[in-house]
Structures are given as structure tokens and as C-alpha cells.
């Protein structure tokens, strides 16, 4: 057993649902107890889908366990095919149904349906959501793709985009446009919006563009091996990677192509003097391996940040992430333990986090700004506007995304100069972020924070649970004057200043921190 507070990934059958929900004309019959239907709301609420996920659950109950859950599954299967009339079905079990060993694949086979039945083996107690999506897509491709001639013009398939993916909808559109600029047509996009009939046509493309290795790599490898389709390895996130991706496509197709960079703004935005304040901002990256690796390069080379830590929650990507971290002179954090990520961030005290919604919460608690760059997703990650993170427009979007959480250049200086202005004080946060509370006149007693019990659905608005004061290493004491001086330092660097000063004092064997100690430490760590 493993004690878990929050999870980065759901169970593997949720991964299968991401594939099924992305597709059209496919239905998923899932052997699962009642309650597992909660997963529908991920799609209807977080992603605002306007239809139910194409999933029929058997929703067995305790009383069914004594009788015949196998018949229940067969009936659900037959009913679903009659009611929804899919071109193919996928069948499988959730964690509980796996334990009762009914063999959904065999049962569905036995009822003699006229459409393809694709059985899924997703070990719920070993693997997670990304594996579930990747494996499901592989099985669909294996069962449905048909050998055929290549298309007359040069075409590619775009692989890996699913439901509930981070910006998949817009990435696919951006990359489709980029390929079109290069004179390359798109044969099939899959799983997103593909039908089983489209899957059959996959081998007509000349090569595959793999946008999301987490959810599409097994299928891409299988297609390479069985249909001789090479696939792209570079994820086109950031300007440099997009240009590398284009070079890779040119290499695969053997066709040189001119392309249009007129819409690309990031390079100038990043070079313009206003961006000087971004120089050396210390950032920590965490998310799925592919996004983290691509974004780390972009953060360092295109934004001028200093990457102080990076890691991923999906162990499948541990090896390349470790290698890249090493290249950055870092050690990668490979874990799906949210509390471990939190303590790492706390000890690194970066100036910004590039992470998932989970890190956004960590940042909120620690007072560190965060830009979301990866799944797991939240309703906020499905903006109404067009906002890819891939290709040239994706680079523009990322520039905005990465500066938005920060206090801007001149404002940063003003906050430092006039720290105690009653309206323009640092506790108000960055001026372009609305909704900050006015400066409290006096701190209320910390003990009983008014938590409106049961209004959890708006939990973000609730105050954080009070955290005990950090024990200062070696019992070093802050003198009152120094503590006051520390409070004059703007909030976005205060944590770093505190930590640096304490480390400095510990190294020097000091028992007390005075104003002098604070400024000696500042000089010591000056960069």
C-alpha cells in the first residue's frame, strides 16, 4: 500500500476513456462498479464536452457479485452496441472488475457482434493513466489499421492527441497549419476526432508526426515497424524546437520547403529591453516528461531563465528527463508524490514554477508564481481562445504564459523603492492580477481561520490551513530589526532572502541574524 494525498495521473481505464472520448464512432464498454461513472465529469465539466463520453459502465453492486456479473457485462455490451451503433468497441475492466476476473474480452467475443471488438488489458494496480491511453491507442491501431498504398501527395498522420490533453485541440490545429506551409497534407489525426474507419487509413500516410509521446508513442513505433512509417522525435515547443522539427520533417520527406515565420514574435519580444528583468529568473519545472523537457530548453534558451530544478511524474520518461537534467547540471526529480515535489520546491525557492495545476497550488501556498505547462488539467486549461503551445504561435503563447505570473520589470523596481506605500505595497501582488485583498490593518489571530465548511467546491477561495512556522536551522534567531528589514524586501524575493541569510548564518556559525548579517548574506550571494 502506498499513502497518497493527491495523484498526478488517474487509473489506466481513465486513459482508455481519454482515447475513446477523443474518437468518434467508437464505444467503450467498461466493467466497473457504480461510482466509477464519476470519470464522466472529467470530460463534461473540466473539458466542457457537450456530449457524454461514449462509455457504458456495468455498474455492478455487491448483490451482483454473488450472482452473475459476466451476464451483466454481456448484456451491457449488447445493449450498448444496439443503442449507440458504433463502428467498433473497446472492452475492459476497471480496478475492481479486474479483481473479479470476468474476462471482458472473451465475453464480448462470445456474443458474436458484427463489429470489431478490441479487448484491453490494463493492469490497474501497476500502471496509470498515460499508460492506459498509450496502450489503448496501440490496440486500436493494431486491430483496425489496414495495409494500403501511400497517398499520392506527401501526407502525415498526427498522433497522440486525446481528450483531456493539455492544449491538444490547438496544438493539432497549429501543427496542421505548419505542415500545410511545408506542402504536407494531413492524412489522419488520431485519436482526436478520428473514427475507426480513419484508423484503418493510417498506413496511407508517408510518415507520422508524434506530438505526445505519453499517449501515442507505442502506436507510432508499431506503425513504424509494421507499415514502415518513420515518425518525428522532436516536440515542436519553442522556437528552436519548432525549427528543429521542421528540419526533421524535411529530412524525412526529402523535400525542402520555405515556411512563413512572419507571425513569430517571441524572438523580438524576448530581445526587447523590457524583457531584461527576465534574465536569470530561477525557475523549477515539473510535469509530464515531454512537456518538461521541451519547456526547459525554451525557458533557458528563449526566455533567459535559469533552470534550478526539473522533474516529471511519469516514470516512463525518467531516463530522458534524467539525461537532460544532467546536461543542465541538475538532478531530476522523478516522483508522483505531491508532497515530495512540494518539499523540493520549498527548498529550492525558485522565483517561478513551470508546472501542472498541482504545482500551481504548491506555488499559491508558498507564495511563488506558477505558469501551467502540462497535464493534469483543470477547467482553466481549456481556454475559449486559440492558445496552442506548439509551433510558432505556440511560442508566442508561451512567452505570454511565462511572463504573466511575474511582477513586471518597472513595477519590480518601484516595489523595491517604495516598499511601504499604503496602496502600492507588495502584499497586493502584481498589479495586473486583479482581486487581491486590501492590506489588512492588523493580523487576526492565526489560530481560527474562518473556513466556510462544506463550500469545498470553491475551495480555491479558502485560506490555506495554517502551517507551523519553519524551524530555523540550528536555532538561529532573527533579531527584531533584521526581521523588520526582511519584511521590506519584496514578497517575490523575500523567501529566497530569508533562506540565503539563514544558510549564510549557519555556515558562519552565527546564533543571531542582525541587519548586518542580512546584507552580508546579500553581498555573499550576489550574482
Amino acid at each position: 500500500m502506498k499513502l497518497t494525498v493527491w495523484t498526478y495521473e488517474g487509473p489506466p481505464h481513465v486513459g482508455a476513456m481519454r482515447v475513446a472520448t477523443a474518437m468518434k464512432g467508437l464505444h467503450y464498454v467498461l466493467h466497473a462498479p457504480q461510482g466509477d461513472t464519476y470519470a464522466d465529469l472529467l470530460f463534461t465539466m473540466i473539458e466542457r464536452r457537450n456530449h457524454r463520453p461514449p462509455v457504458t459502465y456495468t455498474t455492478f453492486q455487491a448483490r451482483d457479485l454473488g450472482s452473475d456479473t459476466a451476464t451483466l457485462f454481456k448484456d451491457a455490451c449488447a445493449d450498448a452496441v444496439t443503442r449507440f451503433n458504433p463502428q467498433a468497441i473497446i472492452v475492459g475492466a476497471s480496478c475492481t472488475a479486474e479483481l473479479i476476473q470476468d474476462d471482458p474480452g472473451g465475453l464480448a467475443e462470445a456474443i458474436g457482434l458484427s463489429i470489431p471488438v478490441i479487448p484491453l488489458e490494463l493492469p490497474s494496480y501497476q500502471r496509470k493513466e498515460n499508460f492506459g491511453a498509450d496502450e489503448t491507442f496501440l490496440q486500436i491501431v493494431r486491430h483496425l489499421s489496414k495495409p494500403q498504398d501511400r497517398s499520392a501527395r506527401i501526407t502525415a498522420n498526427i498522433l497522440g492527441a486525446t481528450a483531456l490533453g493539455f492544449r491538444h485541440r490547438d496544438d493539432v490545429e497549429e501543427i496542421t497549419g505548419l505542415l500545410s506551409d511545408l506542402g504536407i497534407g494531413v492524412n489522419v489525426v488520431a485519436p482526436l476526432n478520428a473514427t475507426p474507419a480513419d484508423i484503418a487509413r493510417l498506413p496511407a500516410a508517408h510518415f507520422n508526426v508524434l506530438l505526445y509521446p505519453e499517449t501515442g508513442e507505442s502506436a507510432a513505433r508499431w506503425l513504424e515497424k509494421n507499415h514502415g512509417q518513420p515518425f518525428t522525435k522532436i516536440i515542436p515547443i519553442g522556437v528552436g524546437a519548432t525549427r528543429d522539427f521542421i528540419a526533421e520533417v524535411v529530412r524525412i520527406t526529402g523535400r525542402d520547403a520555405a515556411y512563413d515565420e512572419s507571425r513569430l514574435r517571441l524572438p523580438w519580444w524576448s530581445r526587447s529591453v523590457d524583457s531584461t528583468y527576465l534574465t536569470g529568473k530561477r525557475v523549477f519545472l515539473f510535469g509530464d516528461g515531454s512537456h518538461v523537457m521541451a519547456m526547459a530548453r525554451m525557458a533557458r534558451d528563449e526566455m533567459g531563465f535559469e533552470v534550478v530544478g526539473m522533474g516529471c511524474y511519469n516514470r516512463e520518461m525518467a531516463r530522458p528527463v534524467r539525461a537532460m537534467a544532467k546536461e543542465f547540471g541538475l538532478e531530476a526529480l522523478i516522483t508522483d508524490d505531491y508532497l515530495e515535489v512540494e518539499s523540493t520546491i520549498e527548498s529550492l525557492s525558485p522565483e517561478m514554477i513551470m508546472g501542472t495545476q498541482m504545482e500551481r497550488h504548491i506555488g499559491k501556498r508558498l507564495g511563488i508564481p506558477c505558469a501551467v505547462i502540462s497535464a493534469p488539467v483543470h477547467v482553466q486549461d481549456f481556454p475559449a481562445r486559440y492558445s496552442p503551445v506548439m509551433g510558432f504561435e505556440g511560442a508566442n503563447v508561451l512567452f505570454d504564459t511565462l511572463i504573466h505570473p511575474l511582477v513586471m520589470g518597472l513595477e519590480e523596481h518601484l516595489l523595491t523603492m517604495f516598499r511601504e506605500d499604503f496602496e502600492f505595497h507588495d502584499e497586493a501582488g502584481a498589479s495586473h492580477h486583479g482581486g487581491h485583498a486590501p492590506k489588512p490593518v492588523a493580523q487576526p489571530a492565526a489560530a481560527e481561520a474562518p473556513v466556510p465548511a462544506m463550500s469545498i467546491i470553491r475551495a480555491e477561495e479558502q485560506p490555506a490551513e495554517p502551517t507551523p512556522a519553519e524551524p530555523v536551522p540550528n536555532n538561529i534567531i532573527w533579531l527584531i530589526d533584521a526581521e523588520k528589514e526582511l519584511k521590506k524586501i519584496p514578497f517575490f524575493v523575500r523567501g529566497k532572502a530569508r533562506r540565503n541569510t539563514e544558510t549564510y548564518a549557519a555556515e558562519k556559525g552565527l546564533r543571531h541574524i542582525s541587519i548586518d548579517t542580512l546584507y552580508e548574506a546579500k553581498a555573499h550571494y550576489a550574482r
Binding site: T4, P11, Q34, G35, A39, N50, C95, P452, M454, A464
Partner: protein, 427 residues
């Protein structure tokens, strides 16, 4: 005091019930942990289950709560299933790890899930052993929130029922109020009952573990939630007596609920009016505003929280709506009987679910407002129906007089929104 007039056409108590079995689009009982862990401030809920359980709790919270919550999941792994690890020892290890991390915890609930029930991990035994080990600092109890046994709000029922056997014995004549209420609502309720001179009063669950909440043959209890069937039975087994009443939703429901308790404690009619007249008038006024939108409209309830019958009673009698179907996961006559008596005859009363058949009925009925779960709301909106997602009814203060207007507002807002949005071209 205030006897409510039953409907002219007879109520729904004797109406035939459409019982369905099929795919059920509902949460499991683990969901109750989301509000219970905020209500009970010294309690931790440890689910022994799978990654799915952890994912459900995270998703059902609507957002991920950024503070470290007072719940977690001991996720079963391959070694636990293959029998290579002794489940009891594993539970001990995880609990020790947890209590070490959270020394502030005074009550620990071991919560069973679908997988732990199927592989028959005996959490009752584990709780007894751990309780002996950690008493008196921590009290360890267990219940099941599994989907194979419980639906959504039944999780709270199972949790409260597990607390009843360990309540102290008392001979005193006391009133016990049963069901988790938001703090502000609980305070209002206690204020009114105390103003009527009723006491001592205790609440189950209390904010913190205490020595005062007790039960015995002279205890009378009132339920504030209609889904507490097992807790009701457990309290009766301890000798306590239930005060059946309509549930305190809306002005009528609140008045009826209070008057049953007032009668039991011989509160004079004049005192009852003195305490309730002003809030009753406020509630009527607040409801009237929302009712302008709701009056004459039809409503269709999918089964979700078991609040459906009392809410249908409120909407039909106080807001002028017509109920087409009132679905509930379970119908306990001993609990919702008084509400069924008052609900005007007419709607289909359904128990259980076959979601695709019920969706077909909802589409045919095209009610002005369809009350349903989160998985169905947006798809039905996309088909042009107005919906109210039901989980909000459980997560929002809606009981008693001062919230009656808010309760009506939850139903009127989707209709008002639909009427104010102008998304077509003006010409």
C-alpha cells in the same frame, strides 16, 4: 402548532414506485469525505483502495484543494493483491506513517472501497486493533464507502452510523441533531431551538471528538438529511427515539421540522411564533423572489443525493413548480414519508436507475429544469435543456429559513441565465 395542509389530490406516499436497475450514473459513498473532513476538524479519512478512489476524491472536489487535506488513500499495489503483503500489517504501517505526520488527528476513519471489499480486507478488525493501540489519543473507526455498497450521500450515513456504537450511554433527556450541516446553518438552528428553551442539544457529527455527545433511552433525535437510514437504525438500536418530520428545506419544511421538535418538548405556541415569525417572514419573502422565475415551470429529478423528494416538495409547494419525475437512489419511507405525504400526486416516483432509459424519459418530457449529476448536465444543456447540477445542493448551505431563498435561487439561476443570454445576431 403549524400543521401543513396535505395536497388536495393526495400525496405521493402511496404512489407506485418505478424501480429500475441498470447503469447508474452516480458517485460512490467515498464522495462524502469531501465535506465530512471539513466538518470534523480533528478527523482523518483514510481510504483503503485503488488509484481510482484517489482520483475520484480529487475530481469530486471540483478543484484540487491546495492545503494538505485531511483525507488520503492507501493505494493497493500488486503485492497487496498477490497476498505477498499482509494487508493488516500494511494498514498498520500506513496508519503509523500518517499519525506520525499528523499528530493533530484525534479520530481516524478507515474507509473501505470497492477493491478492499472485493478482496475482503477486514477493516473492522484493523480498526479495533489500532484503536486499542492508539487510545485514548486517537479513536479509530471504520466504514465502507465503496460503490458496490453505497451511493454518494450514503457515505455520510455509513460514517455517522459507525460513530453511534461508540457514543457514551446516557439516561438524560437530550435532543440529538443528526447530519452534517455547514457551520453557519448549524448555529442558526441551535439558536432557534435554544430560544425555544430546548436543551441539552448535541450534534452528530460534532466538530471535534467530545465526551458530551451521548445516547440512551431518553434521547430523541431529529435528522437534518434524508439519507441517514443506517444511522437512524443504529440510533434506534441504542434506544433513542426518532422524531419523523419533513426535512427543513424552505419555509414550510423548516417550520414543520421545528414544530415537531417543539411539540416533543412542549414549547408553547406563543413562544414558537415569537422565535420563528420573523425568520419565516424573511424566508417567504426571499423565496417569493426566486419563485417568480420558477412559478409554473416543470422539473425532472435524476437520482443523486437522496435529497430529491424533500426538494421536490419544496419546489412544488413553495415555488409553484410541477414535478414530472422525482428519482432517488433509495427511498426510505421512515425518513422521507412525511415529505411524500406533502408532495402533490402526479410525478413519477422512481428508485434506482437505468440511465439511458431515464435519459429517454427526460428528453421526451423536456422539463423546464432538469436536476442531474455533473456527468449529464453539459450534454443535456447542449441538447437545449436547462439543468441544475445536483452536487451543488450538497455543497451549499441550503437548510432552514435563512437559506431558503438561496435554495430557491440555485434552481432559478439556470433559468434566469438562459433568459438573459442573447447570443444571436440582433437582426
Amino acid at each position: 402548532m403549524t400543521a401543513l395542509t396535505p395536497p388536495m389530490n393526495g400525496g405521493c406516499r402511496t404512489a407506485p414506485v418505478l424501480k429500475e436497475r441498470g447503469q447508474r450514473e452516480v458517485f460512490c459513498g467515498l464522495t462524502g469525505i469531501i465535506w465530512l473532513h471539513r466538518k470534523m476538524q480533528d478527523a482523518f479519512f483514510l481510504v483503503v483502495g485503488s488509484r481510482t478512489c484517489a482520483h475520484l476524491l480529487q475530481s469530486a472536489a471540483g478543484v484540487m484543494i491546495f492545503a494538505e487535506p485531511r483525507f488520503g488513500t492507501a493505494i493497493l499495489e500488486e503485492t497487496d493483491l498477490a497476498g505477498m503483503a499482509d494487508a493488516q500489517k500494511e494498514v498498520d504501517r500506513v496508519v503509523a506513517q500518517l499519525l506520525d505526520r499528523r499528530p493533530d488527528i484525534r479520530q481516524l476513519f478507515l474507509v473501505g472501497s470497492c477493491p478492499s471489499e472485493v478482496i475482503k480486507i477486514d477493516l473492522h478488525r484493523a480498526a479495533e486493533r489500532l484503536n486499542a493501540q492508539h487510545a485514548p489519543h486517537v479513536r479509530v473507526l471504520n466504514y465502507s464507502g465503496s460503490g458496490i455498497e453505497t451511493t454518494f450521500t450514503q457515505g455520510e450515513d455509513a460514517a455517522l452510523a459507525s460513530m453511534v456504537p461508540v457514543l457514551k450511554e446516557t439516561e438524560a433527556r437530550e435532543l440529538l441533531i443528526v447530519g452534517a450541516l455547514p457551520d453557519v446553518v448549524e448555529d442558526q438552528m441551535l439558536g432557534m431551538l435554544r430560544a425555544m428553551g430546548i436543551g441539552p442539544i448535541h450534534c452528530l457529527p460534532a466538530h471535534r471528538i467530545d465526551q458530551e455527545t451521548a445516547v440512551g433511552p431518553n434521547t430523541v433525535f431529529a435528522l437534518v438529511q434524508p439519507f441517514l437510514g443506517d444511522t437512524h437504525a443504529a440510533l434506534e438500536r441504542r434506544g433513542a427515539r426518532h422524531l419523523p418530520a419533513p426535512f427543513p428545506f424552505g419555509e414550510e419544511g423548516t417550520t414543520a421540522w421545528l414544530s415537531v421538535i417543539a411539540a416533543e418538548f412542549d414549547v408553547p405556541a406563543s413562544l414558537f411564533s415569537q422565535v420563528t415569525d420573523a425568520p419565516r417572514a424573511r424566508a417567504r419573502k426571499a423565496i417569493a423572489q426566486a419563485a417568480e422565475t420558477l412559478n409554473g415551470k416543470s422539473v425532472f429529478f435524476f437520482p443523486d443525493s437522496q435529497l430529491e423528494i424533500p426538494l421536490a416538495r419544496f419546489l412544488t409547494r413553495e415555488c409553484g413548480m410541477t414535478a414530472i419525475e422525482v428519482g432517488s437512489p433509495y427511498i426510505h419511507d421512515a425518513l422521507v414519508g412525511p415529505d411524500l405525504d406533502l408532495l402533490p400526486a402526479g410525478p413519477v416516483i422512481s428508485e434506482g436507475q437505468d440511465v439511458d432509459k431515464q435519459l429517454a424519459r427526460a428528453r421526451a418530457a423536456r422539463a423546464d429544469l432538469t436536476v442531474c449529476g455533473l456527468g449529464l448536465a453539459n450534454p443535456l444543456e447542449a441538447e437545449g435543456l436547462s439543468t441544475k447540477w445536483a452536487i451543488e445542493l450538497v455543497f451549499t448551505p441550503v437548510h432552514f429559513y435563512e437559506q431558503a431563498g438561496d435554495l430557491a435561487g440555485l434552481f432559478s439561476r439556470p433559468l434566469r441565465r438562459k433568459s438573459i443570454l442573447k447570443l444571436e445576431a440582433a437582426e
